[in-house]
């Protein structure tokens, strides 16, 4: 296990190179967020009661927590790097070394998220401070604990999904379009753009059969106290099942891909 601590260490040092980039990225991500919040304020100004069961404070908190979940778990560069490693033949060295590529990548992903969060914490906290009248704190410590557990699984889910799509590079030359198509689905079906329960009920229920809601919507709802009791335990179980399923699929895709691998330029 010691070698993977070294990987995390290397990952931290590599990502620290981009710390200013990370700060800029997190600051400018707040601009569209501000626009979205303004849009929601305009919607609530035009009506007396709640919007699909959300009060204004809940809605604004929803987007703020999405931002927090995103900075903690979103896959940014990893999928591009994995695809480039395969395309340029860089993974040949991992086939020769006693190191597991998936674990290696997971360590780098974790290190990257750690540094990104450390850089983003100041702008995001400042932003939340200015929205503090609308910011809801979790009901109790248990809620926060379930949220943290779900968040960890969200991270794994995001990573395994991006990892598997990046492995398409074994079969096709250019994977960026596939990455963007997956990202589009993640963006809308995970609840990034709006909370999924404002959708018509049949559609929202159908989405819960896919892994996407467990990438953002589910942990945020735990935080807001909208998922409790039986729904909470059932949801966590389904989320865990998706993590295991995607992990197995990632392993399967790797073992198939490696047979196809031609080590071009490696």
């Amino acid at each position: 296990m010691k070698k993977y601590w070294h990987v995390i260490n290397v990952g931290i040092q590599n990502t620290l190179v981009y710390r200013v980039n990370f700060i800029f990225r997190s600051v400018f991500a707040l601009v569209p967020l501000f626009a979205t919040l303004s849009l929601w304020r305009a919607i609530y100004a035009g009506q007396a009661d709640d919007f699909a069961g959300y009060s204004l404070a809940q809605m604004i908190s929803y987007y703020l927590i999405v931002t927090v979940v995103d900075s903690l778990t979103a896959v940014t560069e990893d999928d591009w790097q994995i695809a480039a490693d395969i395309k340029d033949g860089n993974i040949s060295q991992f086939l020769l070394k006693p190191i597991d590529y998936l674990t290696y990548r997971l360590c780098l992903y974790g290190a990257g998220r750690l540094i990104f969060t450390a850089c983003a914490i100041i702008p995001i906290t400042t932003f939340i401070y200015f929205q503090r009248h609308y910011f809801i704190l979790p009901a109790d410590a248990a809620t926060l604990g379930w949220f943290a557990l779900s968040l960890a699984m969200t991270g794994l889910l995001q990573f395994f999904m991006s990892y598997t799509v990046a492995l398409l590079a074994f079969w096709v030359l250019e994977v960026s379009t596939f990455i963007f198509i997956l990202y589009a689905f993640e963006y809308i079906a995970s609840g990034h753009l709006f909370p999924l329960d404002i959708l018509p009920a049949p559609l929202a229920n159908a989405l819960h059969w896919t892994p996407f809601p467990y990438q953002v919507f589910f942990p945020v709802n735990i935080y807001l106290g909208r998922t409790t009791g039986g729904d909470l335990y059932r949801g966590l179980l389904v989320q865990a099942c998706w993590v295991v399923a995607l992990y197995l699929f990632a392993r399967f895709a790797w073992s198939r891909g490696i047979r196809k691998y031609s080590a071009v330029g490696g």
Partner: protein, 190 residues
């Protein structure tokens, strides 16, 4: 050291004060128009090298456009107006902004992104040596054809939304609005 004969002859020819034997240069505008048509042809050839990729990029952009439309469709399934804006007014706004953005992408975007790369790799030096305005070449070299397909879908939606709003703009109204899109694009690169 003696230079090879063909270099020698070109040197003497260029240093001669009157180069009457060379074909007269076409007027600047015509010359740049023909240059641009070559650049477009080049871009077509490049895109057709990876046809599936070309189609997939169009799908990606279309998907993102649909995604934003879906967001507003969902919002307007709950409310009639957002601060005086009706559903079709917002769709007209979204499709117009998508149209302008796609035209910008088609003509300039990839070139703007590539500038820093040209500087870093030293390719800019090579471009500055070419007997053509460097800014012209740097800004317009790569034409993204897929963006024009997406711009066309945006126009179709603009027209549809306009019909839903019972708008009937006169040519006099349409000309200024469409021509204002062009400087809008070029402002970004200046």
């Amino acid at each position: 050291m003696r230079l090879p004969p063909h270099v020698e002859s070109r040197r003497t020819r260029e240093s001669r004060p009157d180069n009457s034997e060379l074909a007269p240069r076409p007027p600047t505008f015509i010359r740049y128009l023909s240059l641009y048509s070559e650049l477009v042809k080049n871009s077509v050839v490049r895109e057709m090298g990876f046809k599936t990729n070309f189609v997939l990029w169009i799908v990606v952009d279309l998907l993102w456009f649909l995604l934003h439309l879906t967001f507003f469709a969902v919002l307007y399934s709950h409310v009639d107006r957002i601060a005086d804006w009706t559903k079709w007014q917002v769709i007209l706004l979204l499709s117009t902004s998508h149209f302008i953005q796609q035209i910008f992408t088609g003509l300039f975007f990839n070139n703007c992104v590539a500038i820093s790369e040209h500087i870093r790799t030293g390719r800019l030096d090579f471009m500055m040596l070419l007997p053509v305005n460097t800014r012209f070449l740097v800004s317009l070299r790569h034409v993204d054809l897929g963006a024009f397909v997406n711009a066309a879908t945006a126009v179709a939606l603009m027209i549809y939304a306009g019909r839903q709003l019972h708008l009937s703009p006169t040519p006099g109204q349409m000309a200024p609005s469409s021509s204002s899109a062009a400087p809008g694009c070029s402002c970004i690169i200046r």
